[in-house]
């Protein structure tokens, strides 16, 4: 408990007993929040951009680099908005991406390898975790979602490719298979067959017209960064929207059934939405 903590507790006006209770509540809320962030981030990413993250032979220069940041910044921005607006806690983005990474690795071992015997090299996931850290850091420094969208979201989109290329480059070395030149990633995809995934189903780069060295990857990265800005603002708004605490107006019958209206005509209005701007 450093000085800052004591100052916060003093300002909060809680008795020593209440402080203990509030610490218990902290632990419970962290658990609930962790489960929920993990679940929502995983199901959201799974069905919006999952395929590119499942297989190594889907990680191309056009769609993988574009789609993964776009589909993950959604929940990162929303959870960031909730925890920043309510408690000034800039951990929403990092928690979302970290828990997504943990969840993904669990499934890669339990299901892809455990159930269907796929080697892990076929199903290594990428991650936008470094982008999420930058998103949170810029939010702390700028304290404004506008600046975070402009700087943080751009870096989020740009950082995905280099931060994952560090450990994915080896999979794109050339190798010969049946006389043709192919990449190690294609060879892995070919060697370990997937009945439900024929080769033509891959939505990957089917031809580039202007290749100047490895710039097509950076073209996709910049486009992704550009799209991340708008998605960041859109889902930050959704996060703020989710912090509304209105009640449906209900008649007296409802209240009497639920025992809410026992005799005292409590006309106390619902809780004021305490959402600071």
């Amino acid at each position: 408990m450093n000085l800052n903590d004591l100052a916060i507790l003093k300002v909060s006006g809680l008795s020593p007993q209440a402080i203990k209770w509030s610490r218990t509540l902290d632990v419970l809320i962290v658990i609930v929040a962790a489960f929920l962030i993990w679940a929502v981030s995983h199901i959201s990413f799974l069905l919006l951009g999952g395929d590119w993250d499942f297989f190594i032979d889907w990680k191309d220069r056009q769609y993988w680099i574009l789609i993964i940041p776009i589909t993950t910044i959604t929940m990162a921005a929303a959870f960031q908005a909730i925890f920043w607006n309510l408690f000034r806690l800039p951990v929403g983005a990092t928690a979302s991406l970290l828990l997504l990474l943990v969840g993904t690795w669990i499934v890669r071992y339990h299901s892809w390898q455990g159930l269907a015997f796929f080697p892990i090299s076929l199903v290594v996931p990428g991650t936008c975790l470094m982008g999420a850290l930058v998103l949170d850091a810029v939010l702390v420094l700028s304290r404004s979602w506008l600046v975070t969208g402009a700087f943080g979201a751009v870096l989020y989109g740009l950082l995905f490719y280099p931060s994952n290329w560090i450990y994915m480059a080896g999979y794109f070395q050339p190798v010969q298979n049946m006389g043709d030149m192919t990449s190690v990633a294609d060879l892995i995809g070919y060697t370990f067959p997937r009945a439900g995934t024929p080769e033509y189903i891959r939505i990957i780069e089917r031809g580039t017209l202007r290749t100047f060295g490895d710039t097509p990857t950076w073209v996709s990265a910049f486009f992704s960064a550009f799209a991340c800005i708008f998605l960041y603002y859109l889902f930050w708004g959704l996060g703020v929207l989710a912090c509304n605490s209105r009640f449906f107006p209900v008649g007296d019958r409802f209240k009497s059934i639920y025992g809410g209206k026992s005799g005292a005509a409590d006309s106390e209005p619902a809780l004021k939405p305490g959402v600071p701007s």
Binding site: L141, S142, R143, V147
Partner: protein, 189 residues
């Protein structure tokens, strides 16, 4: 020459734009609209270096990054060059070219290349600076001297610029958070 090299080095990685070649006084290699060229009097030849085992079909101009098996191909741009005998000699850049044979590394006797392309290969064992001497024409009237380096890792100043950019961004945001903090405190007081 140095200006061209520096300009290319500084500009290249950061902006990724192809720089127009600086004035090449006497046939030095220069990037001209993304083509590495050497001048032979009124004519030009296109210079390309490959190191297939190391980096496949990547093309190099004046600095061949690694040691080992290297293939260089020079393609005649103007058709007249195809009818002239062309002699190629690669020498180690030791400064004195009095006894050429001592420092010669590769020598192609004069010969006309109908296909217009002059390939040669050599396995460079020690890094260092080399000079290419290409003479064309019946009396060898067109001479081109182009220095190039092998195995000397190019200094990428550009990337240090990137790190500098990171520092500037972080510092800027940090100072911005200070002003935001002061405005917040002032608002509250």
């Amino acid at each position: 020459m140095l200006a061209a090299r520096l300009m290319k080095r500084l500009g290249g990685p950061l902006l990724g734009l192809a720089l127009s070649g600086a004035a090449q006084a006497h046939g030095g290699l220069a990037i001209d609209s993304d083509m590495c060229k050497l001048r032979l009097g009124p004519f030009n030849m296109h210079f390309t270096g490959y190191q297939p085992e190391i980096n496949g079909n990547r093309e190099f101009c004046e600095d061949i990054p690694k040691l080992g098996h290297t293939i260089v191909v020079m393609d005649a741009i103007e058709p007249e060059l195809r009818e002239m005998p062309i002699e190629v000699r690669i020498i180690r850049d030791t400064g004195d070219e009095s006894r050429l044979d001592a420092v010669t590394v590769v020598h192609l006797p004069p010969k006309t290349y109908m296909s217009g392309s002059v390939p040669f290969e050599y396995s460079f064992t020690t890094p260092g600076k080399f000079v290419g001497l290409v003479t064309a024409g019946d009396q060898g009237q067109y001479v081109s001297r182009f220095p190039f380096s092998v195995g000397i890792p190019p200094q990428h100043y550009g990337h240090y610029l990137l790190f500098l950019g990171v520092a500037v961004l972080a510092l800027g945001l940090y100072r911005y958070s200070g002003t935001k903090r002061r405005r917040l405190m002032a608002g509250r007081a």
